[in-house]
């Protein structure tokens, strides 16, 4: 009789395969989660079985949450399989709460996702109603009435306490609402009272949105989805102007801008550009986005087109109107930050670096290369003696490369050494310069290093070191090549 076999999703619990979820056909057959697969097989022949994949489920939920951004910036994940949207002040943009609920359901259905939605004045009431009476919209202040006949299991307490409540004859939330709170709290815990207050809208439990709310936001909704690159760029240009105007009103500039593209099939693509200074120049923004779009290894797949494009800015800072300076210095600085931003947008900020000094004398830790966007320039303290040759190499190997070296005496400079299979005969050498490990970082195997500047017979210059003091720390010191001089 059944048209197709019911689908069971199983997970492993204590070594047994147990039903975790099932499709409508299985629901009709009365197969409930928690039933073992063996038992289910005993009841019906040949169910279709698939293993649960919680990671994929979570990823799908995240994608749906991303997509829900179109309704409100405040979207929170809510337990397994649930999303909580804060609709405060946004419903009228979609033609009212009922129309919005309808729209959301319809769109989700076109993606093949079934959903149960309820709208209420408090997060807890909405959560309970979505599970018990999907589709309900509670008028303001009507929460207490709406949740009265819901079972107490929807309070969200643990199983033991839910059972205790039912045993006490308290079957519906209404039963609880009517009782004095103090005995309830004494018997079932303060949590129980708190949940009741949440359900009835007396207390508002905050939700934790997944994303920052943009400081300034502009969007374009398309009834006819756009997919051509030129249209998308033109849209972005318009949005950039809007955002720039918003920022101007606030007297601020943004440091991080995010363009969000909502494709008709629910796919959401975000593209972020960061700038090194507060920015509200629409033209510069568009240039950065164009760089970024050009550089994408997987282009913005428009597919059937985008029906909503948004541009938001985060991390704003006070913005000083640029004074046009006559000496050109400010202009140079502008040109430079523009360049850094453009390179960052195209290749990624982590590829555009500058050196920042560290307070240490260990050569490989002397500096860090950090994104120019993230760090201001720090003047370098170098105590150079006039007329001296470079005492530090132009380039450094990290980690140092092991070499075979031969010295005349165990604690003397090397006579020859072999690096990358090439033998170098040392013509000149200076050293040792001893660099001791920092005792506060020292582990037992860090040894003193004796560095030598050497030049081979070909005129190439190297920075070598012997690890370990001969006779004190080791009898068989090892040699390393640490850097190359110009």
């Amino acid at each position: 009789m059944p048209a197709e076999a019911p689908l069971l999703i199983t997970e492993k619990v204590k070594g047994a395969l147990v039903i975790a979820a099932r499709d409508p056909a299985a629901i009709r057959l009365g197969l409930a989660p928690g039933l073992t697969l063996a038992e289910a097989r005993a009841r019906i022949a040949d169910p279709a079985v698939a293993e649960a994949d919680p990671a994929a489920d979570a990823a799908l939920l995240e994608r749906i949450a991303d997509w829900c951004d179109r309704y409100t910036p405040l979207v929170a994940l809510d337990g397994p399989g649930g999303l909580m949207l804060d609709l405060t002040g946004v419903a009228h943009l979609f033609g009212g709460e009922a129309a919005m609920l309808e729209d959301c359901l319809k769109r989700l259905n076109t993606f093949g996702i079934s959903a149960r939605i309820a709208i209420a004045g408090s997060a807890d009431a909405a959560r309970a109603l979505a599970r018990a009476r999907p589709g309900s919209i509670v008028p303001p202040g009507g929460e207490a009435l709406a949740v009265r006949d819901l079972p107490v299991t929807l309070l969200g307490l643990d199983a033991a306490r839910s059972l205790a409540l039912t045993r006490a004859g308290l079957k519906t939330i209404g039963d609880l609402i009517d009782r004095p709170r103090a005995p309830l709290a004494a018997r079932f815990g303060a949590e129980c009272v708190d949940r009741i207050a949440g359900l009835t809208g007396l207390v508002h439990h905050p939700i934790s949105p997944r994303r920052l709310v943009p400081v300034a936001l502009a969007e374009r909704i398309f009834f006819e989805p756009v997919s051509r690159t030129e249209d998308i760029e033109a849209t972005l240009a318009g949005l950039a102007l809007d955002v720039a105007r918003l920022l101007e009103k606030r007297g601020e500039g943004g440091r991080r801008f995010e363009a969000v593209f909502y494709r008709v099939d629910g796919f959401v693509r975000r593209i972020v550009v960061t700038t090194s200074r507060p920015n509200r120049d629409a033209k510069a923004l568009i240039r950065l986005f164009r760089e970024k779009l050009d550089a994408l290894s997987d282009p913005l797949e428009a597919g059937f087109g985008f029906d909503l494009v948004r541009l938001g800015t985060f991390a704003t800072e006070p913005f000083d109107e640029i004074e046009t300076s006559l000496d050109g210095r400010a202009r140079d600085e502008d040109a430079l930050t523009d360049l850094v931003d453009r390179l960052g947008a195209r290749f990624g900020p982590e590829h555009v670096l500058r050196f920042v000094p560290e307070d240490t004398h260990i050569p490989e830790r002397r500096a860090r290369a950090v994104p120019v966007l993230a760090a201001p320039a720090v003047r370098w303290q170098a105590d150079l003696v006039a007329g001296e040759p470079p005492l530090r190499p132009l380039s450094l190997f990290n980690p140092p490369e092991p070499i075979e070296a031969l010295a005349e005496v165990p604690d003397g400079p090397p006579l020859r050494f072999r690096w990358r299979r090439v033998l170098h005969r040392v013509a000149r050498a200076e050293g040792p310069e001893r660099i001791a490990p920092e005792w506060w970082r020292m582990s037992d195997d860090t040894l003193d290093r004796d560095y030598y500047r050497v030049e081979d017979q070909e005129g190439r210059r190297f920075w070598l070191y012997r690890e370990g003091l001969y006779g004190q720390e080791t009898t068989n010191p090892r040699w390393y090549l640490h850097g190359l001089f110009a």
Partner: protein, 274 residues
Amino acid sequence: MGTAGRVTVDALRRQVAAIERAGDGTRPLAGRRLPVDHGPVDAAIGGGLAAGVLHEILPAAVADSAAAGGFALALSLCLAPAERPLVWIRAAAAVRESGELHPDGLAALGLDPARLILVRLGDAASILRAGVEVARCAALGAVIVELYGDPKALDLTSERRLMLAAEQSGVSVILLRPGAKAAPGGAETRWRLASGQTQPLPMNAPGRPAFDLTLLRHRHGPPGGPWRLEWNRDAKRFEPLHFATETLRRDPDALPRVEPAAPAAGRALWRHAG
């Protein structure tokens, strides 16, 4: 028009362009020639190295990459107006081959590391693209573009693009090509560079950086060299060094062409070990 005439017209055009740019504060060096060693090298390239063009440096061997990097840096210090930032675009392959740049080493060659922006990229096409983008920025002092080997992306067109960007902005571009076999020839000058034996200090310590360089190609003149130059960090310029004949082994063809450079008169080559 014969080649000689062509060269004259080019030179005149360049002069006119230089005069036109003179009033423009953003390109203070465009069209100018900057002294390298105040000696034989400058003489061979018409009084100094042209700013705002493309210069190419080929290390004689991969092992000379570090020396070539140092030479490129020193050259860009000669070419860049004081205090303007430098950009060095490097390939990941170059880092594997000769290590990451060491800021103390940069300082030891005369560059404040805070002046350097390092762009680290994977493939040649990105490096060239970034190179053009950077070379267009007139606020810079000089740009070093380091490309490893002979990538397909580097051809006459891409060199020409770099050259044009440099000419537009007045920012000198130095194309550093370790492990390369030459080929494209869009640059104003092309040099072969090897590490040179230093003038030893007391106790036989290695002296200041020395470079053996040969002018392989020059748009407005004959090739020349070899010369040996020593980098004077304090004066930020090269000084000619004596050649010992055995050091010419790497470039035997060039040997008879040019007289060894005269020693720098009256300069103390000796110093006390620190």
